[in-house]
Amino acid sequence: MDLNTAWFLLIGVLLTGYAILDGFDLGVGVLHLFARDDRQRRIHLQAIGPVWDGNEVWLITGSGAMFAAFPLVYARVFSGFYLAFMLLLAALIFRAVSIEFRGQVDDARWRRFWDWAFGLGSLVPALLYGVAIGNVVRGLPVEADGTLNVSFLALLNPYSLLVGVFSLVMFVMHGAAYLAARTDGELQQRMARWTTGAWTAFVALYLAVTAATFFAAPYFFDGILGNPLLWILAVVLLGSIAYVPIAVNAKTFTRAFLASAGAIASLVGLFGLSLYPRMVPSSIDPANSLTIYNASSTPRTLTVMLVVALIGMPLVIAYTAYVYRVFMGTLKSTTEGY
């Protein structure tokens, strides 16, 4: 495996980590909009309170790693998607502060405002991530000099919106499974129903997205059908998806959550496998596409950063796992905090 491929893989790992970890935060945030009462809302916030911030760092690191390893992709895509990124940032700002602000003032209107900010601040990113992936799959108007400029409205094409709704539903399923694993009683039953409901929509949308991709981006299937990795990932994906409702029925919600995480990881894997070695396919001319070779940093930087990542990330994973172990347990609503 060459250095560029290693970095493609590493960024895939960072984005997978983000999708699994912050994915449940986003899902909890969307579910927050549908909570029955204040007690449930407090549990939602307690469930992610100590960990969401660390989870978001996976996105920041993914973005930083993109800057370091594939600066051309970082520069061209971020500036080309200008307004979409601004919208994403606004949503993430609101989500961050609403978690902190909500419990500070004992007033129903104050709480309602921050509940909406938290919910929408989670829903918008959950949707936008899918929209962004949809647009990358369709291909973007990358010019011969590597630049691209897409108006915000052009990003909201039917195919990409379909992928956006798919990612939203996926995060809701994931967040519901997480909450079911962390709660008891009525809220747990409610979250079990949400997991199953979201799962049904997830399966339907998965089929729809796959079918639509055949029309929107037929090249996406070229040359990978013979790749054994594809079939391994497909088996993991199908197994994980099939296991979610089984685990919910057996009331083993932690397993349902892990299965949902497995589904997310294998989906990101499949996306990366089809994309490879492209990073941003060009819809104007395939030769204009930004790839892991023409958009990358120098071998020296890739080597240095690989060393940094191989030292740093195991440490991160170790202490993150420790902190999760401290906080994971069944939540009962208390009046303290949030």
Partner: protein, 446 residues
Amino acid sequence: MELDALFLSRLQFALTIGFHFLFPPLTIGLAWLLVLTEWLGWRRGDEDYVRAGVFFGKILGLTFAMGVATGIVMEFQFGTNWAEYSVFVGDVFGSLLAVEAIFAFFLESTFLGLYLFGRDKVSKAVHWFSILMVAVGATLSAFWIIVANSWQQTPAGFVVQNGRAELADFWAAVFNPSTIPRFSHTMSATIIAGAFLMAGISAYLLLKDKETAVARKTLKIGLIVGLIASVAAMFPTGHHHAQQVARTQPEKLAAMEGLIHGQRAAPLTLIGIPSEEPPELNYAIGVPGLLSWMAFGDGDAHVDGIEDLRRQGHPTPPFAITFISFHLMVGLGSLFIALTALGVLLLATKRIDNSRLFLKLLICSIPLPLAACQLGWIVAEVGRQPWVVYRLLKTSDAFSQNVAAGEILFSIIMFGTIYLMLGVLYLFILVKKIKQGPQPLVTKEI
């Protein structure tokens, strides 16, 4: 100035980084003060320190959340608004930012959750370790971001090749000539910011006769640590930094010191009124020879002025704003030494409780270190203009060509509105928390 994409991108960067930079100095400084406070609470078994830890910990959490919310913008903004810059420097600068994320952001964020929510869930040793890791993570974050910015000031360890700066020597890029002077100076500034916050809040509690046992202890910590850091900000770190600027960025030195014409035995200007084009300094009062001596250790050394550098073909930064910001910062720095020295004197002679005027002064001084940080940042960044990477890439060549001015105007209005609201709410909640004061210890059931 017209509202073109370049101007708007600069305005947006100044606005977003300026607002963001209000919070990290507070969290870094406060985190280290809490390392000390929590240590005393744990090792001495003194409940006052533990309650102080809980109280200031909540303020840390609130401030940290603001830093996170506004900081995420920074990680994206190089790509969205400064695409040409990102393409040019990605190989070097991008990797420095990524190191920050991997070694610092995870550490501080993950352990902050443990510190704030884990007090009753882990042992006292682990809990103390968690605030230590927050402080270490925040400091590493400061280190790597200053490394990245210092590389823009005094680039090293690279070659320009294939139309971009490519990494040649990682450690030379990391420890470029300005990294250590700027890191040590900035760190002392963050400690001052945290110390003034702690001292000011403690002064408020004393004045209101609330939880005075706790407040006296935190006031003592704030004043003593504040004095040490205030002295350190001036000497050795500030002095060291200025000497480095003199050697490596003569344009910035000339502008910040107000030296128009190069001379031997150059004076250190204490005050003066600058005007821009042609650069002039009127009503200046200075100490002859002192600038030469401070910059080069020789009272007779020649120091280049703005006009000399222009004649040599080097563009110089906006003069007035650099000069004024620098002198205000130095003035504030001197005030910090005076205030904290007086405070320590009052502590030592046990007169602090009755010095109501001094306590009021401390409350009013809470925002001053943040003002000094902003001014220092302006000196650093405006003083580097017109370059975004010193003598390598101009700011006017660095912005995203493919983003329309209207789009940037929209995002400026969006960030401006959100930040205004967040700033007001932050102050509102901060004041509310301070008024509540330290609470009795309760064992939480979760």
